[in-house]
Amino acid sequence: MRLLFIALLLLAPQASRPIFDDVAAETGLNFRHHNGMTGKFYLPEIMGAGAALFDYDNDGDLDVFLVQGASGGRLFRNDLEKQKLRFTDVTEKSRIVATGYGMGAAVGDINNDGWSDLYLTNLGSNQMYLNKGDGTFDDVTKNTATDDPRWSTAASFLDYDRDGWLDLMVVNYADFSVTNSPNCYAPTSARDYCTPRVFRAPGNRLFHNRRDGTFEDVTVAAGVDREFGHGLGIVVADFDDDGWPDIYVANDGDPNQLWINQKNGTFKNEALLAGAAVNRDGKTEAGMGVDAGDFDGSGTDDIFVTHLMDETNTLFTNAGAAVFEDRTRETGLGTPGRRFTGFGTAFFDYDNDGWLDLLVVNGAVQLLPELIRKGDPFPLGQPNQLFHNTGNGRFVEIVEQAGPSFQLLEVSRGAAFGDVDNDGDTDVLVTNNNGPVRLLLNQLGNRNHWLGLRIVSKNGRDLLGTRVDIVLRKNRILRRRVRTDGSYLSANDPRVLVGLGSATQVEAVRVRWPDGTVAELKPPPVDRYTTIKQ
């Protein structure tokens, strides 16, 4: 009896404390997205925008780039000191002039100089910004030949030919123009936003890095022009475990694509037979955000795609060799996803227990009658959702404990994941369409032990695509990968942050580098970040 009483006392305060606190305003992250609404229900108004978490000044902490609708994105420098966060707007100093109607951001070091570069997707021409290493950026879009004048959304840097230089895949959404935008209607018969299906799907673009500061458009040669879709999400991972990066594209209302790397510079879309193109009913869904991760500890990257309300968010488990099964309902994710329209998402271990959890940020794309009735001027707001991985193949939605910001009705779109205050747990930057940015600081994760790894080339480039196996004990291997892509229109922390639960050490760390070679490393110390050079 007495023991039970003590246990309850210990548990009670933990249960009442929110997992995430929004600290954006108090840390100087003052930014509000403006979508430039015209009242004419133009589709691009409600689709943006994303954000990037990246260490542009290589001072060891994550800075923030926030994509803006009409009036230019902003770069905020993280002036972290003794785990106290403070952001300073350095946009003008950085010489980034994000001129387009912004959608998303991707991060990668395109010239192997150890400084992260920034690619911005827009409705219209995109922009490539080269990080000069002195706090400033150069617009090298023209010189690098990496523009795409269409409506681009997600983008991902990947080394698809394993030559040690990052290539770029750009996902495009719809052939929209103000003049070709028809009037669309809700089931109530009132005017509403159109679905993307009224516009043609423009196709995606793959740029190959020529290693001389320029890129070559290899879309056709690589075969990624053979399937079209209204693309919104992208994630790169080695789904068939052959050592070569594959590409998964989430399409809005069209079958998703799984571009399997043929190891000769070309790709083949094998999504349909692989079981990852449509849901288990054979129905195409409205794919928005996407992520890949080994949520069940099986050693393969599974795929999670967020969708429209009245559809589930869909979890495709990977049985190995890129054979997928829709196991949404078996994992407990079926019903909770139907209530909202999901966008940004990621597999991440918010409580550092070693199991990848999920966060989904939501916001409708068709006006919600209940909010119209309440006089909401932008009636698309929905709450965000946190799902805890119970470690037995199921997720449970965490509602009250998640934090007050999870009760807000906002039109969330992007979500970037990373350890912003370097305290050993993953924080989340959430962007809201026509609303303020939220920085959700994790107050819980570092109660468990963790391992932080930054994996770089000899030049200091984050080695995107590196696979890391952390061996906790026999039969318990945590597989993670170095990436910045996934989620929705956003770029994530390239560092690998692995929750260890109560383990105070690891047995081994095995790395498969992007060139396919493998190495076993001396186990690094836990509860701190360690940089590993290839």
Partner: protein
């Protein structure tokens, strides 16, 4: 027993609230709805109000009036007021399964899973023969991964209707969840036999065959999979569909019929849409497309012309007109409409390609060449490159055309595009043979 209702404010304004002892009904703002829809809802509101005011109205009559109002709101996805009306209808006639069933449908839509289960259970006790309720309840259990509960409801549905494709299909999904692939195949095959048009079943079958290791059969079914799913016969929900009025609905129905190649039916729906809203550009464009399928090209051209007159920026109407004119070899007129499309949507590669072709037919190879070159530089598509070759040849620059064509053929070989390769080679022969004949 009659519910005592008190009117709080005047009935002539929007957002009137009717407070009853059972449930407050928040009347929705109708100002943004189509006039037809607004009139239909208002008229039902008037019926409801007069029924409430009538002191002789029985509970049954009042319940029916609330229920009918709820159905109309439900039909237009005004789910909040629909729920309030159904709740009142149910309070007045608790044994009438219809309102409980429709409330359960709303619960299901809103993610109120426990409420939906509770209500479907009541419905199945009142009407154990209602297959739709059993299948819907099974579907909720299936999504909750409560496979035994799902299975027993589907089995009960089959007992009532052994030929229910929805029940067979869903039993297949239960088996697939359990990775019992052979049983899944059996149920999916039965469902497909009962509903051969439901081509989405092929996908489920493909996944089941894949699970059995039969990749050949899996591929065979994947090749046949399509967008039509299995649906359970649901008279109450079908009734809601019939309630929907207005141009938009006819347009929607017309599009469904057009997709299903039921052209006569589609034309009727589009004509009704035009009658309800004569300036509906999509209705004119779709009617034009339907008439084209019916072989009435003159009628189709008239519809596209009307659409362009109403909205000169409608790219589809211009494009479709261009197609008809091109078929009639009226290339110059087709060019005008395609130029309009290119102005409206400069990124429309398909229209630019078509325009370049028409310029060639109209013996304007200079312009065709310029356009094809610009198009190819953007898209790098082989078929666009082929047009450059044609234009060069038409300009008499046959050697150049042949050189260009060889490069394209090399690319087609590299990309293993056999079909285009053959066409490019045929054209190359033509260019080689015209060498020397023209300057």
């Amino acid at each position: 027993m009659k519910l005592a209702c008190i009117f709080l404010c005047s009935l002539c304004l929007l957002c009137v609230s009717v407070i009853c002892s059972a449930q407050t009904i928040h009347w929705p703002d109708l100002s943004q709805l189509e006039p037809d829809v607004r009139d239909q809802i208002k008229s039902q509101q008037d019926i409801l109000i007069s029924t409430i005011k009538d002191t002789h109205s029985t509970d049954t009559k009042l319940s029916a009036a609330y229920g009918a109002m709820g159905e109309i709101y439900h039909a237009y996805s005004l789910t909040g007021p629909a729920r309030e009306c159904y709740l009142n209808a149910n309070a007045l006639a608790p044994k009438d399964f219809r309102w409980i069933y429709l409330l359960a449908k709303l619960d299901q839509l809103d993610g109120r899973v426990d409420e939906a289960i509770r209500r479907y259970r009541i419905v199945t006790s009142l009407r154990p023969d209602l297959v739709a309720a059993l299948v819907n309840l099974g579907n909720i259990y299936l999504e909750l991964d409560r496979l035994d509960d799902a299975r027993s409801n589907y089995a009960a549905a089959l007992k009532n209707d052994p030929n229910s494709p929805a029940a067979h299909y869903s039993l297949g999904q239960v088996a697939l969840s359990r990775r019992n692939y052979a049983e899944a195949v059996e149920h999916f095959e039965k469902a497909l036999a009962l509903a051969p048009d439901a081509n989405r079943i092929h996908y489920a079958l493909a996944m089941a065959y894949r699970g059995l290791g039969n990749s050949e059969k899996a591929k065979l079914h994947l090749a046949q999979q399509g967008p039509v799913g299995v649906r359970v016969a649901d008279p109450l929900m079908d009734r809601l569909v019939q309630l929907v009025e207005g141009a938009r609905v006819h347009l929607m129905r017309g599009k469904v019929a057009l997709e299903a190649k039921r052209y006569e039916e589609a034309a009727t729906e589009f004509r009704e849409a035009i009658e309800a809203r004569p300036d509906s550009v999509p209705a004119h464009v779709n009617l034009g497309a339907t008439l084209t399928q019916l072989g009435d090209l003159k009628g189709a051209a008239e519809e596209f012309t009307r659409a362009v007159a109403i909205d000169p920026n409608n790219a589809n109407a211009h494009y479709n007109l261009a197609v008809l004119l091109a078929n009639e070899k009226q290339h110059e007129q087709a060019i005008e409409h395609l130029q309009a499309v290119s102005t409206i949507n400069p990124n429309d590669a398909g229209a630019r390609f078509f325009l370049a072709q028409q310029l060639l037919y109209a013996k304007r190879p200079d312009e065709a060449l310029k356009l094809a070159q610009s198009l190819y530089s953007t898209t790098r598509a082989l078929q666009h490159g082929a047009l450059v070759g044609s234009a060069l040849a038409d300009l008499g620059r046959c050697a150049e055309a042949a050189d260009w064509q060889r490069k394209l053929i090399a690319r087609a070989v590299e990309e293993r595009n056999d079909e285009l390769q053959a066409k490019l080679k045929m054209d190359l022969q033509r260019y080689e043979s015209c060498r020397g004949l023209k300057p």
